[in-house]
């Protein structure tokens, strides 16, 4: 490949990183309208609440959840998997003298719901002796007859399988048409979670949450099998939208560039380990935000509730860091938000009936608030002045206990209105990193190492060629304080992750992170390809 082709390829790489042109704001219909209530589930929920109260619960909530998930996967010209899963069940959570109990079953009948209520109360009584500080729930408004539906234009479960399979195999064929590409695999995954929630606070809430995730991976293998390189569709984020998003993702058109980039990676120059200015594209930066801000600002970590698995956080104790800890420069503003249209953690109400909220976590570089649930809000209200929950309770399905999970956490765009090109033009010795790669961070969210899908060297303000075997390392506070340039609103994109694990037993949450591209100075870059 000539140098000219190389540079051309790198520019095409940047062009290929453009966000999916889906308008995620202002989608009709109004999500708070529509969907008739399922009176049977409402009735069962009421019976569960009554039974819990009768058995001695001071608080109870019931969730009847029907979760459907459709997944199809392909490799080359084959459909390797097609499944459609539905799970229905009921979970009852109770408080007895400040101790929690929870019981769940797939059997959704009056007798079973009564049995679950009693079982949950008995369990809470068994736990009571080991509760030091009885749980107190923050006040919440009652929502006695409310509904919410994700803003989908086209229900993915109504789209024919023919069409879905055709789209995936078509994209594979395009990628396999690129000389040097040996394998192409693609998939689609859709989730619909319908829940009826009722609590002794007087709320009855019905919600239907959708998620859609098209994906592709193209692999090129060297002629002598001595090397292989893959390009995954990192810039196609999972979103809380319908099939319209899959159409807009346009896998067939993008497959060509992904194929070319997989081949280009085989001959890309291994990175020279050194300090570089790194320009992180939103398709990469979203995950860095997730790991180093999203998880660090969870209040349950700060209080030690997750010490045995997910870990604690460097942002502790709350009294020492709230309103004083400098997370980053003045241009850094981070918003938690469960109202953002099309984002994965967007809902009408959380899984304990708190209305979706939007609030700052970092203001002008200073840490100002955590993510909270009803159980937690009062524990830091003297420092935040906020006594209500921010609505971060989440349970994966009917058989899991709600606990504090991440809302959408986003880095707000800069006011200067910079473009990605501006960031590149201002950089002397740097690397532009795009897409989601390998990522790992310690249990207090200090030391991290993140990879990516595409790495392009920047020299004297220009993109000069593709690199491979790149990972960047850092320590969270120093890293964010090294951020000196932010893209403007026009460069803001939503990334996201479908299966974020936390809790024991582990539950998977889906969450989005919006951000513009951003530049970080003097970041340590290592070469990850040297061990073979």
């Amino acid at each position: 490949m000539s140098r000219r082709d190389f540079v051309h390829g790198s520019s095409a790489a940047v062009a290929a990183l453009a966000a999916v042109p889906v308008h995620v704001r202002g989608i009709e219909p109004d999500p708070r309208a529509a969907q008739s209530p399922d009176s049977q589930f409402r009735m069962l929920a009421m019976i569960g609440l009554d039974a819990a109260r009768t058995a001695g619960a001071s608080y109870a909530d019931v969730r009847v959840v029907r979760r459907r998930e459709q997944a199809m996967s392909t490799r080359d010209d084959r459909v390797t998997g097609l499944s459609d899963a539905e799970s229905l069940g009921c979970g009852i959570r109770v408080l007895v003298n400040g101790a929690w109990g929870f019981a769940a079953s797939r059997v959704v009948t009056m007798e079973e719901v009564r049995r679950l209520a009693q079982q949950a109360v008995d369990q809470a009584r068994a736990n009571r002796q080991s509760v030091r500080r009885p749980v107190e729930l923050a006040p919440v408004r009652a929502f006695p007859d409310n509904r919410w539906v994700s803003p989908v234009r086209e229900d993915p479960f109504d789209v024919s399988l023919d069409e879905k399979v055709g789209l995936l195999l078509g994209a594979n064929a395009v990628a396999l048409g690129v000389s040097g590409v040996r394998f192409a695999s693609s998939s689609m995954r859709f989730v619909r979670k319908e829940s009826t929630f009722a609590s002794t606070e007087g709320s009855v809430i019905e919600q239907t949450v959708y998620r859609s995730y098209p994906q592709m991976t193209v692999t090129a293998v060297a002629r002598d099998n001595a090397d292989f390189q893959s390009r995954a569709s990192g810039e196609i984020a999972p979103l809380g939208l319908g099939y319209e998003y899959v159409r807009a993702a346009n896998l067939e058109e993008r497959a060509l560039v992904w194929g070319e980039q997989a081949v280009e990676k085989l001959s890309a120059r291994p990175v020279e380990p050194d300090l570089y200015d790194v320009i992180l594209h939103p398709s990469n930066l979203f995950l860095t935000i997730h790991e180093s801000i999203g998880h660090a600002t969870e209040l349950d970590r700060a209080l030690g509730y997750e010490a045995n698995y997910a870990g604690t956080t460097f942002l502790a104790p709350p009294a020492d860091v709230l309103n004083t800890f400098r997370y980053g420069p003045e241009i850094m503003n981070v918003q938690a938000d469960r109202t953002q249209q099309g984002a994965l953690a967007t809902v009408g109400w959380d899984d304990e009936g708190v209305a979706a909220d939007s609030w700052p976590l970092v203001k002008a570089g200073v840490f100002v608030d955590y993510q909270t649930t009803r159980e937690q809000a009062g524990l830091i209200s003297e420092h935040t002045g906020i006594s209500r929950s921010h609505g971060c309770a989440f349970a994966q399905s009917w058989n899991s206990v709600p606990f504090q999970r991440m809302p959408n956490v986003s880095l707000l765009p800069g006011e200067e209105g910079h473009t990605l090109d501006d960031l590149v033009a201002a950089t002397e010795k740097g690397i532009l990193i795009a897409g989601r790669g390998s990522y790992s961070i310690d249990q207090q969210r200090y030391n991290f190492q993140f990879g990516g899908q595409v790495f392009i060297e920047v020299r004297d303000g220009k993109l000069v060629g593709m690199l491979k075997d790149v990972a960047y390392q850092g320590r969270t506070p120093e890293f964010w304080n090294s951020m000196d340039m932010l893209g403007g609103a026009a460069s803001y994109e939503l990334g996201g992750t479908f299966g974020d694990a936390k809790g024991q037993p582990a539950q998977a949450n889906a969450v989005s992170h919006g951000c513009p591209p951003a530049r970080f100075r003097n970041v340590r870059v290592i070469n990850t390809g040297g061990a073979s």
């Binding site: 799970s87 024919s160 030690g304 604690t312 310690d442």
Partner: protein, 454 residues
């Protein structure tokens, strides 16, 4: 019989329900997997019980075949209407697919090894029993001025596989896991201990585990940094197991022969017959091993037996799917659902420490992620207790470190090993894969950065 025994499908109940599902599906060719479970768990943190739960479920996965195509539906209700519509839905899904040249014929009845994996002591871990175990752990930690957290989980379950040409396989099992992290009040020390197994009565006791975590938390306080670099390490079994299990996923013949695996030989073929670990190491899957006790069949009903992957350091076997076996005219070798590393050693972690002149003792690893699939290079961090070893003795705590290390290079650099034990293989500290490994002494383990996390 414990209460959960009644909610987990027996062999007779599973056979009857599986046959009803196949019958109502109306499918000429179909296979069903039936899973029933009773899960119970209790969590504690900040020296108190924070959450607990009990949940029961029965899930069927019905795969219907139509002229060389297959699609699956999963459901957890079993009224006739659901079963009929499940069959219709799966059939309709399969009909839109292109013919799958790799779809293998349904298997006729097979012979399976009996694996005893159900233990009443585990099934009987009800909320009161769990709370009592946890209470003693909290009392020990808080009595010592420390902060405890942890997780006690148990699952009682059964799995059945049946198809329309008469195959039926059934296995029931229990599994428990107890893990605890104890931290100093100042947050400058942290220690972890855990155990897992099919039989709660044979697992290490809650008292024993909390004592170990308390000891580590206390001794790890005030850790100082060592320079990142290559160190001889003594990996406790949990640390060794969390890395070793990653190898299991990579041992696929097709990926190797297609050139997209570490086990691909440059120029074509696989590395079978080559040294891939240090001499003396063997790697097997064995459903019947008392340390593992896993399901003796695959999801499509293939029997699982003891399989040796690595013998005396040499790669002897890679797993071969039925489709790849068919394509290459060889016998299939199903991937294992368990992993046991044995290096013929005996003794404990402490025994290994005495033989190390200078090195680091690692309790466990965290956030392990693939960095380079070509070399099976992974990154991750130490956690909950790292100590300097000098002249055969643990001398002081050191700060956590990030590693970038290849599992292959690690297994090629094993200098000594103890006796294998079952480890908590999942980072989430819950019920995880069946992995048994000894503590290992590994030279030149690559640490690349320091972490301030405690």
């Amino acid at each position: 019989m414990s209460q959960v025994s009644a909610t987990v499908l027996s062999e007779d109940d599973a056979r009857e329900l599986a046959n009803r599902i196949l019958d109502r599906s109306g499918a000429a060719e179909a296979i069903v997997q039936l899973r029933s479970s009773a899960d119970g768990y209790t969590r504690f943190a900040a020296n108190e019980i924070t959450t607990s739960g009990d949940a029961t479920d029965v899930t069927a996965t019905l795969s219907v075949r139509v002229e060389g195509r297959e699609a699956s539906v999963e459901f957890n209700a079993f009224d006739d209407q659901t079963l009929v519509s499940a069959g219709e839905r799966a059939r309709a899904m399969a009909e839109v697919l292109p013919v799958d040249p790799e779809l293998q014929e349904l298997l006729e009845q097979q012979r399976y090894h009996e694996v005893e994996a159900w233990f009443e002591a585990t099934a009987g871990l009800d909320p009161a029993a769990r709370a009592a175990s946890v209470r003693t752990m909290i009392a020990r930690a808080s009595g010592g001025g420390l902060v405890s957290s942890g997780f006690l989980a148990r699952r009682a379950s059964s799995v059945a596989v049946a198809n329309t040409i008469g195959l039926f396989a059934y296995h029931r099992s229990t599994l428990a896991s107890l893990t605890t992290t104890v931290r100093t009040r100042a947050g400058d020390g942290s220690g972890w201990a855990g155990d897992t197994g099919a039989d709660w009565a044979r697992m290490r006791s809650p008292d024993d585990l909390v004592e170990r975590a308390v000891d580590k938390a206390t001794r790890s306080a005030g850790a100082t940094a060592v320079e990142p670099g290559a160190y001889t390490v003594v990996l406790e079994p949990t640390a060794a197991g969390s890395l070793l299990q990653l190898l299991g996923f990579a041992m696929d013949e097709r990926a190797a022969e297609e050139g997209r695996s570490f086990f691909a030989r440059p120029g074509g073929g696989t590395k079978r017959g080559e040294h891939v670990t240090a001499s003396g190491i063997s790697l097997v899957s064995d459903p019947g091993s008392p340390l593992l006790r896993t399901q003796p069949f695959t999801d499509d009903g293939q029997p699982l037996a003891r399989t040796t992957w690595v013998e005396d350091g040499v790669l002897t076997t890679l797993s071969r799917s039925r489709a790849w076996a068919d394509r290459t005219a060889r016998q299939p070798i199903p991937a294992g659902n368990s992993l046991l590393l044995d290096a013929g050693g005996s003794g404990s972690t402490d025994d290994l420490v005495t033989g190390v002149e200078r090195g680091l003792l690692v309790t466990r690893f965290w956030y392990i992620r693939s960095v380079d699939a070509r070399s099976l290079l992974y990154t991750g961090l130490t956690r909950d207790g790292v100590f300097l070893i000098e002249r055969g003795r643990v001398t002081r705590p050191v700060k956590n470190l990030r590693f970038n290390e290849s599992v292959i290079r690690m297994l090629g650099s094993v200098d000594a090993a103890g006796a294998p034990v079952r480890v908590v293989a999942s980072e989430s500290g819950g019920l995880g894969a069946a992995v048994a490994v000894p503590p290992l002494v590994v030279r030149d383990f690559q640490f690349t950065a320091l972490s301030d996390a405690v």
